[in-house]
C-alpha cells in the first residue's frame, strides 16, 4: 500500500467486499450444478466467495496499517488538476448524452470547442479549425474511407 493511501484502500477494499458478496448472492440464484456437471452459477459463485475472503483479508491488513500522516497529499485531485479532470469527464458525459440527438458531427464539434476552452486554450482560429477537423473531418474519414458507422442523430448529420 502506498504511503498516505490507507483511507483510499479501505474504501476500495470495502467496495470490493460488497461487490463480491452481491455476486455471491446473484450467482447463488443460478444453478450451481446440473446433469452435465457445473452449472452457470458454479464459476462465479466460488470466484466471488474467494474474492470476498481476499477482501476481508486485505481489509484487516489495511486496517492494521499505520494511519495516514496528517500532511498526506490527498488521493483525489484539487484545484488545477480537479478542474481539468472534471472538464474532461463532464464534456465527455454531456457529449455522449447529446450524440444520439445531435449526431456525431455536431456533438463532437461542441465537445472539441468546450473541452479546448476548458483546458485553457484561447487561440480561437486554431480551436475552430481543430474542432471542424475533429468532428466533420473525422466523421468523413471514418464513415467514407474506413466504413465505420457513427451516430447520425435526429437531423441525419
Amino acid at each position: 500500500m502506498p504511503s498516505g493511501a490507507r483511507q483510499g484502500w479501505l474504501i476500495a477494499t470495502g467496495i470490493m467486499l460488497a461487490l463480491c458478496l452481491f455476486a455471491v448472492w446473484q450467482s447463488s440464484l443460478l444453478p450451481l450444478t446440473d446433469k452435465l456437471g457445473p452449472g452457470p452459477g458454479f464459476f462465479p459463485f466460488w470466484l466471488s466467495l474467494i474474492g470476498a475472503a481476499f477482501s476481508v483479508a486485505l481489509l484487516i491488513s489495511v486496517w492494521r496499517a499505520p494511519a495516514d500522516p496528517p500532511d498526506t497529499e490527498p488521493i483525489l485531485p484539487r484545484g488545477y488538476g480537479a478542474r481539468r479532470i472534471g472538464a474532461i469527464i463532464g464534456t465527455l458525459a454531456v457529449t455522449t448524452l447529446l450524440m444520439e440527438v445531435l449526431g456525431f458531427q455536431l456533438a463532437m464539434l461542441g465537445f472539441n470547442i468546450v473541452l479546448l476552452v476548458a483546458l485553457g486554450e484561447r487561440r480561437w482560429i486554431t480551436i475552430g479549425l481543430f474542432a471542424v477537423a475533429g468532428s466533420f473531418g473525422v466523421y468523413y474519414v471514418f464513415t467514407r474511407w474506413l466504413d465505420v458507422l457513427l451516430p447520425a442523430g435526429l437531423l441525419g448529420l
Binding site: A5, A12, A23, G51, T96, L115, F142
Partner: protein, 499 residues
C-alpha cells in the same frame, strides 16, 4: 513446410504493398502515441483499434502489432528530450538519455536507441520463429484440463509480479474475472449479471473496457500534471561517435538476451527487462560512476531489452494463446475482435496469417529504424503539441472505438465508467495488469474448467490423472506460496515493475 519456408512465404506476403502500408502506418501512429506523455502502448493500441475495423484480419493485426512496437520506441523520445517516459518501459532511459540530452548528445542517444531497438527486435523475432513452433506443437497435445492449468499458471505469474501487494493483485484478478462473467454463460447460454440490459448479453466489451482503463484513465492522470518543458536539442547530428559505438555494442547484445528471455515469462512487465539490462550493464562496467550521468550503454541496454521483450512477449500469445502483459492482452482482444483466436491452432489453421504477422515484425523493425533516424527532428516538433489538443484528439478516437464496434452508445458509457475506475485504481496504486488479463482469460478459463469437469462428471480428481495439468496447476501454488513465505525474494522485480 518447415519454419524457415513458412517465414519466407510470410515475408513475401508481408512485403505486399497493402501489408507494407499497414506496417508503415502502424509504426508511424505507434511512435506518435508512444511519444505522447502519459499514453503507453496498451492505451495506444486500444485507442487505435477503430482504424482497423474495416481492414482484413491480417492487415489489422499487422497494423496493431506495428502500433505496439512503434509505441515502445516512441516512449524513448520523450524520455530523452523532456525526461518524461512516454511509456513505463522508458523510465530507465530517462536516467542516462536525459543526461545525454543536457550534454548536447540527444541525437546520439536517440540514434543508439533506434539501432538497439532494431537489433533487439530483429534477433528476438528470429528466436521467436525458432521457439514458437515446438511450443505450439506441445500445446496441441493439451486437453481442456491442461489449458485450464496453463491459464491459471500464466495468470498467477502476472499476479505474483504485479504491484507490491499480493493480496491486492489477487483481488484485482477476481474483479477482472467477475467482469468476464457478465453476459451469457459460455456453455449453457444462461444470462448472468445482466440486470435486464440486453446490451450486456454479449458481456462487457473488451474494447470499451481497455480504452477506458488505459486510454481515458491515463489521460486523466496526465491531465492532473503540469506540462513538462522540452530540451532544445540539436538533432541534426545524430550519428554516434566511434567511442559511443564501441561502448554500446556489448550492451546491445546483452540487452537482447535479457529482453528476450524475460519476454517469454508471463507477468514480467515491460519495465523489468529494461531495469535488469541496465543494472547488468552498470555492474559489468569498469566505470559504473558514469551511469546516471549520460552513459550511452545505459540507453543502449535499456532500449534494446525493451524491444527484444516486446517481440518475445508475442511467443506465449501466438504459441499458447496466453497474453503475458496488458498490452499483449489488448492485442489478443484485437485478434478476437477480428475473429482469430491466438494459440497453437493458429499455426495449423491459419498458417498464412500467423507467418505473415511474424514476418511483418522484421519489416516493422526495419521501418522503425528507417523512420526514426531521419525523422527524429519531426518527432521532437510533435512534442510541442499542447496537451489540450492531444487530449481532445485521443478522446475522439476513444469515442469512435467504443461506439464503432457494436454501434452502441452504451459502450461509450462503459468506457467512461472504466476510465474513471482506471484513474482511481492508478491513484491508489492498485495493479491493473491482473484485472485486464483476467478479463480476457476469464471466459476461456471457465470454459476449460467446465469442459474438464463435464468429462469427469464433476470430479476434480481428473486433474490428478493428468500429470501435465497437475504440474501447471502446481506453478501458481509454488509461486504464490513462495511469495507469501519469502516476499523479499521478489521485491526488486515487483518494485521495478510497480514504479
Amino acid at each position: 513446410m518447415d519454419a524457415f519456408q513458412h517465414l519466407m512465404a510470410g515475408l513475401g506476403a508481408a512485403m505486399s504493398p497493402g501489408n507494407l502500408m499497414f506496417a508503415f502506418a502502424g509504426c508511424m501512429l505507434g511512435t506518435l502515441i508512444g511519444l505522447l506523455p502519459g499514453l503507453g502502448p496498451a492505451a495506444g493500441t486500444a485507442i487505435l483499434i477503430p482504424l482497423t475495423f474495416s481492414l482484413d484480419a491480417t492487415g489489422a493485426i499487422i497494423m496493431l502489432c506495428a502500433i505496439y512496437y512503434g509505441a515502445m520506441y516512441g516512449g524513448t523520445i520523450t524520455s530523452v528530450l523532456i525526461n518524461v517516459p512516454g511509456e513505463a518501459a522508458s523510465v530507465i532511459t530517462c536516467i542516462d538519455g536525459y543526461a545525454m540530452a543536457r550534454q548536447g548528445r540527444a541525437g546520439s542517444a536517440l540514434a543508439i536507441a533506434a539501432i538497439g531497438s532494431f537489433v533487439g527486435g530483429t534477433i528476438a523475432t528470429l528466436a521467436l520463429v525458432v521457439v514458437a513452433i515446438p511450443l505450439a506443437q506441445l500445446a496441441l497435445k493439451f486437453g481442456p484440463a491442461e489449458f485450464f492449468g496453463l491459464m491459471v499458471a500464466g495468470l498467477c505469474l502476472v499476479i505474483g509480479l504485479a504491484g507490491k501487494n499480493l493480496m491486492a493483485a489477487l483481488l484485482m484478478t477476481v474483479l477482472g474475472l467477475l467482469l468476464a462473467m457478465i453476459g451469457l454463460d459460455p456453455v449453457r447460454g444462461a444470462p448472468r449479471f445482466t440486470f435486464g440490459f440486453p446490451e450486456l448479453y454479449d458481456g462487457v466489451g473488451f474494447v470499451p473496457v481497455v480504452m477506458g482503463l488505459f486510454g481515458i484513465g491515463e489521460l486523466l492522470l496526465a491531465a492532473e500534471r503540469r506540462e513538462a518543458r522540452m530540451i532544445e536539442a540539436d538533432l541534426k547530428k545524430w550519428n554516434p561517435t566511434r567511442e559511443e559505438w564501441r561502448a554500446s555494442a556489448g550492451a546491445i547484445g546483452r540487452g537482447t538476451v535479457v529482453g528476450f528471455v524475460l519476454g517469454l515469462i508471463p507477468g514480467v512487465g515491460s519495465i523489468v527487462p529494461t531495469f535488469m539490462a541496465y543494472v547488468l550493464e552498470k555492474r559489468m562496467s569498469k566505470t559504473p560512476e558514469r551511469f546516471g550521468n549520460g552513459a550511452i550503454e545505459g540507453v543502449a541496454s535499456a532500449e534494446t531489452a525493451n524491444n527484444a521483450y516486446a517481440n518475445a512477449a508475442m511467443v506465449p500469445l501466438l504459441a499458447l494463446g496466453v497474453p503475458s502483459s496488458p498490452t499483449i492482452a489488448v492485442l489478443m482482444g484485437a485478434f478476437i475482435v477480428n475473429g482469430i483466436t491466438p494459440g497453437p491452432f493458429l499455426f495449423t489453421e491459419r498458417p498464412e496469417l500467423v507467418w505473415t504477422v511474424i514476418a511483418s515484425f522484421f519489416v516493422g523493425n526495419a521501418i522503425l529504424l528507417v523512420l526514426n533516424l531521419p525523422l527524429v527532428g519531426l518527432w521532437a516538433k510533435l512534442l510541442k503539441i499542447p496537451f489540450s489538443y492531444m487530449c481532445a484528439g485521443v478522446l475522439i478516437f476513444c469515442v469512435i472505438g467504443a461506439y464503432g464496434l457494436k454501434q452502441s452508445l452504451f459502450d461509450v458509457w462503459i468506457m467512461l465508467g472504466f476510465g474513471i475506475l482506471g484513474y482511481l485504481l492508478r491513484k491508489l496504486d492498485l495493479p491493473l495488469a491482473p484485472a485486464i488479463l483476467a478479463l480476457i482469460l476469464g471466459p476461456m478459463m471457465e470454459r476449460s474448467l467446465r469442459t474438464t469437469l463435464e468429462i469427469s462428471a464433476g470430479s476434480f480428481a481428473i486433474f490428478l490423472d493428468r500429470p501435465l495439468a497437475l504440474a501447471l496447476l502446481a506453478v501458481p501454488v509454488i509461486v504464490l506460496g513462495f511469495m507469501l513465505l519469502k516476499p523479499r525474494a521478489f521485491a526488486p522485480v515487483r518494485q521495478a515493475d510497480a514504479e
